[in-house]
Symmetry: C2
Subunit: 253 residues, 2 copies
Amino acid sequence: MIRVTLIGSGNVAQHLIQAFSKTTDVDLVQVFSRRTEAVTHLVDSRKVISDFTKLEETDVIIIAVTDDAIENVSNQILLHNQLVVHTSGSLAMTALHSNHRRGVFYPLQTFSKTKAIDFKHIPICLEAENETDYQTLENLARVISEVHYRVNSEQRRALHVAAVFVSNFVNHLYQIGDDICTENHLSFDILKPLIQETANKIMTLSPNEAQTGPAKRQDTTTINAHLSFLTDANQKEIYKLLTKSIIDNGKKL
Amino acid sequence: MIRVTLIGSGNVAQHLIQAFSKTTDVDLVQVFSRRTEAVTHLVDSRKVISDFTKLEETDVIIIAVTDDAIENVSNQILLHNQLVVHTSGSLAMTALHSNHRRGVFYPLQTFSKTKAIDFKHIPICLEAENETDYQTLENLARVISEVHYRVNSEQRRALHVAAVFVSNFVNHLYQIGDDICTENHLSFDILKPLIQETANKIMTLSPNEAQTGPAKRQDTTTINAHLSFLTDANQKEIYKLLTKSIIDNGKKL
Ligand SMILES: NC(=O)c1ccc[n+]([C@@H]2O[C@H](COP(=O)([O-])OP(=O)(O)OC[C@H]3O[C@@H](n4cnc5c(N)ncnc54)[C@H](OP(=O)(O)O)[C@@H]3O)[C@@H](O)[C@H]2O)c1
Ligand SMILES: NC(=O)c1ccc[n+]([C@@H]2O[C@H](COP(=O)([O-])OP(=O)(O)OC[C@H]3O[C@@H](n4cnc5c(N)ncnc54)[C@H](OP(=O)(O)O)[C@@H]3O)[C@@H](O)[C@H]2O)c1
């Protein structure tokens, strides 16, 4: 049984609370939230605190608050020699106060409060200052997920940047597809099977093997037809840059 | 029973042959291929021809060859008053010879010979010069898929451009994610659940609702950290342009 404290009541905190309450291997001892009403629908209200001095020692305190607030929150944890981790993809482990035994418990996924998610397949990226704490984090990760990786702070930063490309930027390209559909009185639904298949393909093929389209074929006739079709300057610029990047990438291989 | 002729032996032709052979509602009368050996593993060799003068009249002839060859192939079909369609997203219906009753049968999906695909959920975009022929195409589409749309040539061009954004360009962003992982001794597998969830999200949320990340939050600290992390000039440029586009998009709303 791993005794856990959670600080925060946002997307990640709420999903973690739900994942922990599904298992008997975790005892969620306390949840800290500035606004206790944000979590009382998920956890026994006697466990919810909003005063840092009430924090008890547990096996691990997970800080799941906005990146900007992590350092400040960490400083307010007055327990000494306590294992404290954050859940951020972009901050180094050393963003936490050096009074603590420090670590990171970063679930590499995109969370929104409204969409249920199964933790089972979410890769959890782990880091700790010492090996015993790493074992604790690994045991905790195993309880909620089938996949975890040892990832140091530098690698986690790389992952976070990569995640921006394959998730935030990808979603923005979906947005552009949606805009083009709307302008032409077409339903965005028509593109959804293609979007799904594009994501499915790279589960078995490398992105390089899966690449298709006019840029890959260096089909300048189609590329020019597309560029003259596009009237939005921004869409045109993105089309040009990504087409050039695909062509240059083909030359490197 | 719809009597169909297929011209071509590439990705689309092979998937169509397989879809047609699964149903008794379609009689695949002939398959034309310059290289007959390319299709004889899929269809009775007596049906395979490589001489255009041997083409018989059927309810519909589907030309599924390279875009550049469609006009030429269409000109070689000497049957008069025959319904002839192509499967291209980028060419107008009028790319076909005006001797024919013309139409388009465009399956909006990314095909590769090596990856099996279920036609059932592929949207088929239909167009025809006259309503009776449209009905024939609609009946044929219904046999292999649950979804079809009436899409004119201008709209189909828009769809093809949108498809480049949500499929070809998206796959290229997967490629960049893969490159960043490789440079940092991380497995690309670690990003796959995020990629899947990003595609899944927009099945129920609009891309605009689903957008997250530092650009959406206008979190300049993280954006600058990512830019100084990236050393590849091309990756940096793509990061900047897409970040700017997400920020500008937020302002428009
Ligand atoms: N969302 C994701 O997809 C995702 C994925 C992986 C990792 N992460 C990381 O997980 C962490 C939390 O992200 P999130 O998406 O859950 O954020 P969020 O939904 O925006 O929630 C932020 C939480 O931080 C609390 N908070 C902010 N400032 C605080 C302060 N000064 N003192 C105490 N609490 C404070 C907020 O409390 P109030 O409600 O009282 O303001 C809220 O509970 C971040 O480090 C993030 O990088 C996020
Ligand atoms: N691939 C996709 O994801 C996809 C999706 C939707 C629509 N489409 C459209 O479907 C059509 C076919 O695409 P595809 O991907 O199946 O192409 P593909 O795999 O490259 O196959 C092209 C086919 O065209 C034949 N061909 C080329 N030039 C010819 C000529 N002059 N005379 C006779 N046959 C010729 C080739 O025959 P040989 O083998 O003898 O060279 C081959 O069978 C295109 O219009 C494309 O835009 C493709």
